[in-house]
Symmetry: C2
Subunit: 211 residues, 2 copies
DNA sequence: GTCTATAAGATGATAGAC
DNA sequence: GTCTATCATCTTATAGAC
């Protein structure tokens, strides 16, 4: 079941430099609020207030609050997983693939902070509705990406053979995505700087070698 | 301002093997629900239902929903920070102190999974009320513990001198506490096993040395 | 210590005017 | 595309009976 809700005929999210439609403006506002306060703790009145309209008017654009978050999340996920697929299909060695996957993930936090935050905070709750079944699918898909990369690394001798693959996957996943809690695009370290340092710590640790 | 709400004269939480009071039973139920669904998404009716009473009856035991979460969080934090203080005051070398702090934290996740989850998910929101000002204080205190340990490690030559101390602190903090999302006491790896593997990855990385 | 009953406000959503 | 007006439901919390 596709997530889109586009009576105008199928416009996606804001890509390129085109002027955003009213629908897109409203989704941007909703995404920021959902990210800041959580989906259930954001009221349709909150969204309408920020948009300068009344809550009832929102229902001219969207069926329901759920339709809004559905459109926000599904658009983002398509893009991210397209990039993971590209990395998996590439001919790079295991270490390079792992590094690329880390960098692409931090880039996603930079470009889609609200979407990432919503997924991190509300996916479990939303996943209880059939409509959002694709969230659990994406979770499994992401897990498969990382497990594949880690196992390839161990097999080709670039990663330690004694690693607990599942635990390593969790550590990598958690450390990357939880950064959405403190990373602010345009302030402090850039997402590429953070990815550099993270890759270094992940691969070589924080201790002095041979210590 | 103390957080306790103890008309009975000051009983703490359930320690040792004593039979829990009705008050403690209700707090245990509330803590699990707050952890699972979030503070704002747990209704007093949810808590009362699980306890087998009506929502109004809860107000015989507690002033408000906020008093409940206050008592849950403050009791837990006293214990955890007592352990950090002990480590800081010890004569151990920097590497040992860092390892001990990691282990104590994973042990806290094991013993107080609900409390940790509530703090992770709802501290930002609760912190907006004066009553919960101590949460921000504890956050700063925790930051100071880790920063101190990392800086001591760098100074004494056991940690790499090129580390970004703040970023390293965030990575350590995030990776540890986010484990509360998937760790389940008594299932899978024990908290000591997880701490072992985590310390190894943190200090030495996942790559083969000299790779 | 729990129940009955209820207040006062917030919430997602709808129907129809402009 | 937005507003007026409103509904049915859920929310935290209270007062007093048992």
């Amino acid at each position: 079941m596709p997530a889109a809700n586009t009576p105008d005929g199928g416009s996606k999210a804001t890509k390129g430099g085109e002027t955003p439609t009213r629908r897109e403006q409203l989704l941007t506002i909703a995404a920021r609020l959902f990210a800041d306060k959580g989906f259930r703790n954001t009221t349709v009145r909150d969204i309408a207030d920020e948009a300068g309209i009344l809550s009832g008017s929102l229902y001219h654009h969207f069926d329901s609050k759920e339709s809004m978050v559905d459109e926000i999340l599904s658009t983002f996920q398509e893009e991210l997983f397209g990039q993971y697929d590209e990395i998996l299909a590439s001919g790079d060695d295991a270490r390079t693939k792992l590094e690329r996957a880390v960098r692409v993930s931090f880039e996603a936090i930079d470009r889609y902070p609200s979407e990432v935050a919503i997924f991190q905070n509300d996916a479990d709750y939303l996943g209880t509705f059939e409509r959002f079944g694709y969230l659990a699918d994406r979770n499994m898909q992401s897990r498969q990406v990382w497990i594949t990369l880690i196992e390839e690394g161990v097999r080709t001798g670039v990663l330690r053979a004694d690693l607990d693959v599942t635990l390593t996957y969790r550590f990598i996943r958690d450390t990357i995505w939880v950064a959405v809690r403190w990373y602010r695009p345009g302030r402090g370290l850039s997402h590429t700087d953070i990815a550099d340092q993270y890759v270094r710590i992940l691969l070589d640790g924080i201790a002095v070698s041979g210590g």
